[in-house]
């Protein structure tokens, strides 16, 4: 198997937690447990299980969609925030151009400039 650490998001870790705690269980059981804990509906959990399968963190077997954790807790790395959601809320129209424009974090200098504005206007 690939040695690269698997990167998982918080929500996927929630799914893995169940498997690490309870061993191999059917997907249905995971969904029920997470519905109690997080309020997710079944489909949300199933989607997350499928993603974990895609990332190689879970193996499924029939019958009953049994889920088996392929990796131990120690091998997991936190995935980095992807800003899909923000891109939408930040003005979807702008996202249309996101292929053409670079997406950058504000530079230290820009931050300094903003703070300067606050100081200047505060003095007024």
């Amino acid at each position: 198997m690939d040695k690269k650490p698997v990167k998982l998001f918080d929500s996927e870790l929630k799914v893995m937690d169940i498997l690490w705690k309870e061993g191999d269980v059917p997907a249905r059981h995971v969904a029920d447990a997470l519905a109690r804990e997080t309020g997710w509906n079944k489909n949300t959990t199933y989607t997350l299980i499928k993603r974990c399968i895609g990332k190689g963190a879970i193996e499924r077997s029939e019958p009953g969609f049994m889920c088996h954790a392929l990796i131990p807790k120690e091998d997991v790395q936190e995935a980095e925030t992807d800003e899909l959601i923000e891109k939408l809320y930040d003005g979807s129209a702008e996202r249309l151009f996101s292929a053409l424009l670079s997406r950058k974090k504000l530079s230290a200098r820009q931050i300094e400039k903003l703070e300067q504005i606050v100081r200047d206007l505060e003095a007024e």
Binding site: F9, D10, S11, K14, E37, T38, G39, W40, N41, T44, T47, L48, E78, A79, T81, D82, E83, L84, I85, E86, K87, L88, Y89, D90, G91, S92, A93, E94, R95, L96, F97, S98, L101, S102, R103, K104, K105, L106, I111, K113, L114, E115, I117, V118, L121, E122
Partner: protein, 525 residues
């Protein structure tokens, strides 16, 4: 009014709001701009009619959305006009062109709209999928805040590692979503964030944004609507910031600004388009917060006045154009008139409208066409000549025996009739008999010319060819030939059939072939 006219008048409104905003964004209450943008949205969306067919004709003519008269159904027979034999059966040379009535422009517009709408829908659905995986929050302050939340809708606070700054989603079950890196110990900061998001929830900003996106999809070809979309989204934020400051107090402005800057540092963002609009949005936002002042009677009054003036100047002029047809020139026409030096006294020419043409039935089941005309000129009409076509309910053209009384057994798609009834200025005929359609099966009084397709007639399409006024002035419809070419013998889309009436004829100078009443061409003032 059609889409282009709405887009044009919307564009003028947007330019006005843009100017006001540029001049006074830091001086007026931010709600002023939100209200102005919302009015722009109404302007862009109401009255909303899909321009179909998107032809030059609909580009320059103002369509009025009066529903076809219901009275027509209730009027009993007998028809007055059928007593008089129709004038002539004109055999028009046959239309070879298979040209579709849906023009390329309409197709382009549709394609653009569908593309943009599906982009929004996909982005939205994908986000909703992601947002569903957010995790609950266990925090004492958040729970306390939620308990004190006076809103009828139940608000949820959740957290996610997929975002780096807080956001709110959901209209009926609003959720405030916090980034995982939130420092839950700093209650002051939480209070600012919650109260900003709470302002969004109270004002149903999620819904407003959806409506703005909808308007953008429809008016995607109008660059000013893109400007509106961006600035409107920004102003919604500014309005919420203003509310936070109002609640927290003027002294908190710096603390709030610095918190926002801190969060901006986390977040990567799109660099604005080139020189872009106005200034950098973050800079504008920080400056706006720092310059927030408590509203004084003076700022409130000027805000109210500004809203009133701009709304009455830009929103109602468009409304008037749907009501007073002769006066209300659509913005599109205003623009072309200014550019092309066309006589400014257009209203003298006015318009004539075919309000409706329904296929009704005599008691014995024989069909006839019942049409209603309005004279919006200031002359009395003494004679009209117009062409009629009939098609079945799917829009397939019908070849009818229009002229059964002279026993000419000729059938044709089109039939030209002449009516010599007087129609006073401003008058709508409330009753105009009908034009009988020959149905060999039912009308036994007349020599059977074979079984026409009259019983299948479901739609009647009428188009004026010529109008004679009492002073002898004659107007020939310049669009008549092209109308005939695109409609006679052609299958016509049901959408077009449904939206055909009221069918307006603008009496542009081009149509005047034999002007006897010269005062028509004199400038009004």
């Amino acid at each position: 009014m059609n889409l282009l006219e709405m887009s044009f008048s919307g564009a003028f409104f947007i330019i006005a709001v843009f100017i006001i905003r540029t001049a006074a964004v830091y001086r007026l209450p931010k709600m002023t701009f939100v209200i102005l943008w919302e009015t722009v949205l109404l302007r862009l969306l109401i009255p909303f009619r899909i321009p179909f067919p998107f032809s030059v004709h609909t580009l320059i003519s103002l369509r009025v959305s009066t529903p076809p008269s219901v009275e027509a159904q209730a009027i009993p027979l007998p028809p007055a006009k059928s007593q008089r034999p129709p004038l002539t059966l004109q055999e028009m040379e046959h239309l070879a062109s298979e040209g579709t009535s849906v023009s390329a422009w309409f197709a382009v517009w549709c394609a653009g709209m569908i593309l943009l709408a599906s982009f929004f829908a996909l982005a939205y659905l994908r986000c909703r999928m992601e947002l569903r995986t957010a995790l609950p929050v266990n925090n004492a302050y958040a729970e306390r805040w939620l308990k004190e939340c006076p809103l009828k809708r139940r608000v949820f606070i959740r957290q996610s590692d997929r975002i780096s700054t807080p956001l709110t989603y959901g209209i009926f079950r609003p959720v405030i979503l916090m980034p995982r890196k939130t420092d839950w110990e700093r209650e002051e900061q939480l209070r600012y964030i919650f109260s900003h998001e709470y302002a969004h929830i109270c004002r149903f900003d999620a819904l407003t944004k959806l409506i703005a996106a909808f308007a953008l999809c429809i008016h995607w070809f109008n660059p000013l609507v893109w400007v509106m979309y961006r600035l409107f989204n920004r102003d919604l934020e500014l309005a919420c910031d203003e509310r936070v400051i109002k609640q927290a107090g003027q002294k908190q402005k710096s603390a709030y600004s610095l918190m926002l800057i801190g969060m901006e540092a986390q977040k990567s963002r799109l660099m604005p388009f080139g020189s872009g609009l106005a200034k950098n949005p973050v800079e504008e936002r920080i400056t706006a917060i720092m310059k927030t002042k408590p509203a004084t009677p003076f700022t409130l009054l000027s805000a109210c006045l500004l809203v009133l003036i701009s709304v009455s100047a830009f929103a109602t002029s468009a409304a008037a154009s749907t009501d007073d047809r002769p006066d209300g020139m659509p913005a599109a026409n205003v623009a072309s008139a200014d550019a092309g030096n066309v006589a400014p006294h257009k209203k003298n020419f006015g318009s004539i409208i075919h309000e409706s043409a329904d296929i009704l039935h005599y008691e014995d089941g024989a069909p006839y066409i019942h049409d209603i005309l309005t004279n919006n000129t200031d002359k009395t009409i003494v004679e009209t000549q117009y062409c009629m076509l009939a098609c079945d309910e799917d829009g397939a053209p019908l070849k009818l025996y229009w002229n059964f009384t002279d026993s000419s057994a000729e059938s044709s798609y089109e039939n030209i009739v002449r009516s010599e009834e007087n129609l006073l200025p401003g008058q709508t005929e409330n009753y105009r008999g009908g034009w009988s359609l020959y149905d060999g099966g039912i009308m036994e009084d007349f020599p059977g010319a074979g079984d026409g397709e009259a019983s299948r007639a479901a739609w009647a399409l009428l188009c004026l060819k010529q109008v004679v006024f009492e002073d002898g002035a004659v107007w020939d419809n310049p669009d008549y030939e092209s109308w005939l070419k695109t409609h006679a013998g052609q299958r016509i889309g049901v959408d077009e059939l449904q939206n055909y009436y009221p069918h307006e004829y603008r009496l542009e100078p081009a149509g005047w072939n034999r002007l006897i009443g010269t005062d028509w061409l004199k400038p009004a003032g």
